[in-house]
Assembly symmetry: C2
Homo-oligomer: 563 residues x 2
């Protein structure tokens, strides 16, 4: 029908239809797409034993208009109570909103929505205008014992937005998305939680006149979900940005928080350090809406000096060498890189295909110099900060990498990566259109357990025939890092997929990893919490839950494993 050389699938280039299922599960900007290149396409066919014919017609694209038959259980009188608080236009009860505001980007959700399957929806969506609205809503819901769920940017990959108990969903991004102030002396910014990454960063890079700010700042937090996640979401799920090795995780960047809980308002101080007993500010971080609703927060900000950014990329002869060099860099006490990433051999090969390097003269050169496929490992990163500092750190990184046998690839590879850093998830839709899943799990690990965890999880994934498994480490600390496993497989049966995925989590725990480095817990990992943390620690979390939320109205139905 087509010659092998010329055929490329007719990857979807149309924005999803308005009000369709696809418009809910599609990643990111409706008008943006990123397709597998031809090398990737060939790889996928080869790995999964597919032919061009399998890519002639997409399956279950989810283009249908959202229609559900779940009745609104909330009586009119109660709906009116919310209308009284926020106004009629800030209460949504239509089918589309109920599905949209209760789904994130978990693969399971995409699989089901493609088939027009909807399990749980809230009765209504309420769009609070400010923290006073939230206070009234929480008071009312607590009195009426109505479940309250919270929607930030909708990028959860852990069933973080699932509403098993129905009730009320608060959409925090609709109105509560404002930057309130920049304090240039303290280098902090105070905001409402529903502000999205790009709006926040833009306001810091080019501060609006009303803030009377002299310098440019950066938030320092750039998760892959940056464009479609909120600052509040970063904090309550303990996210990490791609430059976390220098700037810290959301956990480190948030200075103070204000929550509305059924037990009252918790507003923490913004002291940079104190010794006044266990810090309530810490207790609230990572609570994922189970204790209360984050309504305001103050984040540390950093001087924005993009002109000083240094980029580097290296090819290591082996994973061992890449890991050891990275440890040396993180423990060397000479300053830390901002972005710092190493890819294992399989990710390196897939990456070279992805960036179109495989088969080019550069590839041959690297090969000739003894950096063999399925041995060699890519490393890339940036240094940020003051000008001499970035040069100093880059030079020392280069020195260490050379000591461990790496060759430099110049900063060009890093610039390529920077261009597509937020775009990778867009490929998910293309692959799923033809029955192929791409998904990720990630785990924190200390250096001394890195290889055991890597091999343990990898060998479980690779035991399944026809499964691509790429691993990288991308958030570094002197004591260890994270391992980020990306796997691609031909499968669209949810039950089988869940079994396979559960096996990965089991392998992580068996091999001493944490069940989440920065994706959070949600309802997906919740069943593993007791196994992971032990019943004594879970008892502490439950005591806190019960204190803040005695009627179990906050994010009920299994979130964090608390109920």
């Amino acid at each position: 029908m087509f010659t092998k050389q010329s055929f490329q699938p007719d990857w979807c280039e149309k924005p999803p239809k308005k009000k369709s299922y696809r418009s809910i599960f599609k990643w990111g900007n409706p008008n943006e797409f990123k397709h597998p290149n031809s090398a990737w396409y060939e790889m996928i066919k080869e790995e999964f034993g597919l032919t061009d014919e399998d890519f002639e017609k997409p399956q279950s694209e989810g283009n249908e208009k959202v229609e559900i038959d779940q009745k609104i259980k909330l009586p009119k009188k109660k709906i009116n109570a919310f209308i009284d608080i926020v106004g009629e236009k800030n209460v949504s009860t239509d089918d589309y909103s109920r599905v949209k505001y209760s789904h994130g980007k978990t693969v399971d959700e995409a699989i089901e929505l493609r088939r027009n399957l909807v399990r749980n929806v809230p009765d209504i969506i309420v769009h609070p205008r400010d923290k006073k609205d939230v206070l009234k809503i929480v008071k009312y819901c607590n009195k009426q014992k109505l479940p309250v769920y919270i929607f930030g940017g909708g990028s959860s990959v852990t069933f973080g937005l699932n509403t098993p108990k129905g009730g009320v969903m608060l959409a925090m991004g609709t109105h509560m998305n404002k930057l309130l102030s920049i304090n240039e002396q303290n280098q902090t910014a105070t905001m409402q939680p529903g502000i999205f990454g790009p709006a926040y960063e833009e306001a810091l890079n080019n501060p609006p006149k009303r803030f009377n700010v002299e310098r440019q700042y950066t938030c320092g937090h750039f998760p892959q979900s940056f464009e479609y996640s909120t600052v509040g979401g970063w904090v309550v799920t303990l996210g990490s940005g791609q430059a976390s090795t220098y700037y810290g995780d959301a956990y480190d960047i948030v200075l103070s928080q204000e929550y509305v809980t059924p037990a009252g308002i918790i507003k923490t101080h913004d002291y940079p350090g104190t010794a006044t007993g266990p810090k309530i500010n810490d207790i609230m971080k990572g609570s994922e809406g189970s204790f209360g609703i984050l309504v305001e927060l103050t984040m540390k900000i950093f001087r924005h000096m993009p002109g000083n950014r240094q980029r580097f990329a290296f090819m290591f002869p082996s994973w061992d060498a890449a890991v050891e060099a990275s440890r040396e860099i993180l423990q060397g006490e000479f300053g830390k890189p901002a972005v710092y990433r190493i890819a294992d051999p399989e990710e390196t090969e897939v990456g070279l295909k992805h960036f179109g390097v495989q088969g080019t003269p550069i590839d041959s050169l690297v090969n000739l110099r003894g950096f063999k496929p399925m041995k060699r490992c890519l490393c890339l990163g940036t240094v940020e900060g003051e000008k001499d500092f970035t040069k100093h750190v880059k030079d020392h990184i280069a020195k260490v990498c050379k000591q461990y046998g790496a060759m430099t690839l110049t900063g060009f590879a890093t610039m390529l990566w920077e261009k597509t850093r937020y775009k990778e998830p867009y490929m998910r839709e293309d692959l799923m259109d033809y029955g192929v899943i791409i998904d990720t799990v990630e785990s924190a690990v200390t250096w001394d357990n890195l290889h055991r965890l890597h091999q343990g999880v990898r060998s479980y994934i690779k035991k399944r025939p026809g499964t691509i498994c790429m691993t990288h480490a991308s958030h570094f600390y002197p004591q260890g890092t994270n391992l980020y496993f990306i796997f691609i497989l031909k499968m669209m049966d949810l039950k089988s997929y869940r079994k396979f995925h559960d096996g990965i989590l089991d392998a992580i725990l068996k091999h001493g990893g944490s069940i989440s480095h920065h994706h959070g817990i949600g309802k997906l990992f919740a069943p593993l919490m007791t196994r992971h943390l032990g019943k004594e620690q879970m008892a502490v979390l439950r005591v806190l839950k019960n204190h803040f939320d005695p009627n179990n109205i906050m994010n009920p139905g299994g979130h964090l494993g608390l109920d």
Copy 2:
């Protein structure tokens, strides 16, 4: 009787008598002393309107042998239960031990012990040999509802060791003082909590062969109490070391902990970062023995490269200039100093006297160059880490200091300071021997509130005629610092002193400071906790307290304001 020039008080040079009150309240090594120099002596006489005659004879030195009339309320049968657990020689019931192990270095305690006044003592002191002993002790005490107190190094200045409910005191430093392992890959050390600073640092600097360690390490934590405080104490009271600006506070340095609580054992993971809900590791930090007993902990360690240390010292024309330069240094993104300190005008003058600079040609030179007494401010510090890094950071600090009008004093002043860094508290005894109190309070503050807090607290203290008040900042963050107030006054009446001291705390809270940056809360600041944190946050701490310790046996009687 004596000529003014020649008279110097006969400062005590004798180690305290064995078993005396003085041996309990005297700071540090019994055989070490540090006396006010003649410039200080003159200053004190002048400030307080004293004459040489007032220094002829010391008052209430506390040389008497400890004897108390508090009966042991614990019946023999229960004492035997402890003997069964730890062995006879690890249970003390003598008067001296009961006083020694229930007193720290709070000024109030010294005033009372000098007069042989003892309020609260435990019935017995138990010296657990390991964490199994602690588990048995806590189980037994919980069943019998016996109060349990904990003694680490005994350096508390917050009534942290006071035992209002009697019962059992656990002495953690007697046996549970061992370094258990150094993990060179992870750069961590695991230890029992009762290990003292010098033993810990020595083992990291020169690792014992059995640990199979190649490099030298440092703990990075050097509080003024370093020589007489334990690592466990640093963590449970949220201490800060003099090099915290680079290495972080104890809060940042501790990676994982194991506690024995009445509700069971809490043993946290050592992942360098996770997103698995609110971190129980954080909840335990700063709990000051109110939730349970720290029995093992893993600390981050750092490469020890003393040869790379850079030292600097500057004189600023004003406090404003010193503060602004410091903020620029902390926010400049060029790497941070390790030790970094600035002294306000009064501390600068007193410091110049103290170091014997006042009246020398250096003093004249500084004066001539326009750095006027009671305007000028001293800044000193060090940079640690990799060689080029320390040079780079020092150069940039020098550049910033010059921009703010400072003149360099070379690193010599810093070397002087380093030599006496742990010795300053020894002067307390000399002064108190003649009825003069030297005491400190400290507070965390953001940059934008620094001057208000400084002036507010200072003006309260200086309102009292004849009171020296020196202030420095010594723990820096991009968002702010601490203010450390040292005050000297002629007073030995405890009731008046408590009133004056309470006024300082009131001034701190009124002017927006925290009630503790790194001294902890203990029972001294506990009454202020609700005012400081608010009742909602206190309710959270109480819920945790009640969970871990439902019978209120752990450090009962007002600690942290929890009961």
